[in-house]
Amino acid sequence: MLAIAWLAGGAGCSDGGPDHGGTLAAIRARGELTWGADVQGGEPYVYEDPAQPSHVIGFEVDIMAAVARRLGVRSRMVQYSWPTLVPSLERGDFDVIANGLEATAERRARILLSEPYFVYAETLTVRTDSTVRSVFDLAGQRVGTLNQTYAYDILRMLYGEAVKVYDGNEEPYKDLELGRSDAVLLDNIIADRYGCTPQHPALKCLPYDAARGVYVIGIRKADPELKAAIDAALAGMRGDGELERILRGARLWDARQTETWPAEGHATGQTRRFDGEMVVQFLEAAWVTLELSVLAFLLAVPIGMALAVARIYGAGPARQAARLYIELFRGTPVLLQLFVLYYGFAQLVNLGPMQAAILGLGLNYAAYEAEVYRGALLAIPRGQSEASRALGLGPAQTLRHVLLPQALRLALPPMTNDFVSLLKDSSLVSVITVIELTKRMTIAAVDMRGWIVPGMLCAAMYLALSVPLSELARRLERRLARDQRPLTL
């Protein structure tokens, strides 16, 4: 995601620009302060008003409105995917970040951070029958948290790579309830609203703060005068009680807000370097990608074949069912299908992430394979099945011995295409916590504060997987399609 955001062309650059500073003057000139946030962060941060969904509300909306008012301008929120907020700020897509941005030494090395507007506590949530008492009891356990949070840094510092990362607030707790993980470490705001709620009677939040941290406003390096203005506005809000009013209104005011601000989070220490261990991690992730793609395709091929046969030769209901399947799986996003399979059907079948990923991708690609085989079957001359019938072969025998072998060799080039495509689509399964090659790249890109090395490593590994496969397919094609070599034009 990070790399993608950096590579994507930039629309809506603000006047200041990333390097030259002068953003405060630009804000005053245009009469508007733009701030980046992600509504996926949900209630109470920044979210769509249930009563009026075109309108965003949240305590950060109120805080930014107050800050802007104190600067004498309007406030406007700009929607960005959370993991891309920092690079997008650096690109100059908006003026500041205000969206649960935790103050860490790593962030301070990259951008300016305002004074805090909120003190949060890292809260550990477990199942009610759990014996875990603190973050130090989690060795060998599966712990979930959100991607690129301070909690993620803490967990990785303590337990290395055995952390399940999520992008949404609900999913970590859902998996915890289902026994797919053993604990979730997240900010108390999230834990209170999504974890230990009446909807999750089997979960409890441990009463001790695992750590404390602060939310701050992120500002570009070149804009110290903007930071000074924002800090002054925040100090004013603290002094005249406006901040307390806003936080109380959002039911966020607690004793932590008046205690001394905690020391700045400092988890990973220093940025990662490219080394042998990283190559090993990438190789492991490439293996996950390969395993996932091969198994999903092995599922997609027979199902696709059955669907194609049903669609061409089946009786009315079978034909309709096959069509429905194809339209449904081809016409809806595979991301949604993975979500439904992993979270939606969790009460029915509690699949592991890898199983759900293989099944989800396999079922989705089956719809595409079905159409490939259908086309191939229809391309076989009628005389073939007539000759087969005239020899006394039954319908199933004709399919098995005459039609499918010929269809397969016609289908080989598009199948190779689909497999290479699947290899890359498999990156979508990171939404259900599988760490495959692309996810590994985005993690490494965050750790290294740069995407070039991880990006090239990732591309090299995808190519190392796909090129030999196309070569294999090319040879197979040659062997199978002996009579189909093209004439020279």
Binding site: G383, A390, G394
Partner: protein, 248 residues
Amino acid sequence: MISVRSLCKRHGAREVLVGVTAEVARGETIAIVGPSGGGKSTLLRCLNYLEAFDQGQVEIAGVTLVPGMAGGGPVLRALRTRVGMVFQQFHLFPHLTAEANITLAPRVVKRTPPAAARDRAHALLARVGLADRAGAYPHELSGGQQQRIAIARALAQDPDVMLFDEPTSALDPEMRDDVIDVMRGLADGGMTMLVVTHEMQFAHDIASRVWVIDRGTIAEDGPPAQVVDHPQTQVAREFFGRLRRPAP
């Protein structure tokens, strides 16, 4: 061996066969001739139910065919192991070698052991003069060779009746003779054969009987000496006259 009673077949509003009735005895070779669109191929295809018919009845090789039989049913599958078919366009299976084309049906339908099927295939290949091409794929063979493999493929099921649908029409003249020689050998060996053809030489020299089919009925039926040399009907006279006209 074959008995056809009042066979009617419609393509939409068009009547293709209009009450065809005929008898064929064991060992006869029938040449079916006549103008295009007269119903020759349709009649042939109705005899092994590759096309269903609307009225009438066919008894062939001990199997009785009536309208509305199920496509993959046991009666039809029994029929097809007893009635071989050879197509104008050969329809060999392109993904299989000559040998595998021949052994497929015995192995799959009759469950002949592979070794026995292979031996039989080699004997049939020798019989059609292609003993050395067992491992060749169809695209490596000439049209005449492909058609002879197709005949061997049909013979591998040990049929009582062989149906040929214009077996030489897609071939160059020099290749036709090889195919016709194979068919002559079959006729001499006592095979019951029905051959839709435009080959006058075949109708005259090899057939034991000639049917002239026109507008869905058998317009003339008799030995070649009678039908070819002394046609009685207008359509037969025109047909043979046109074919006999010397090349310009």
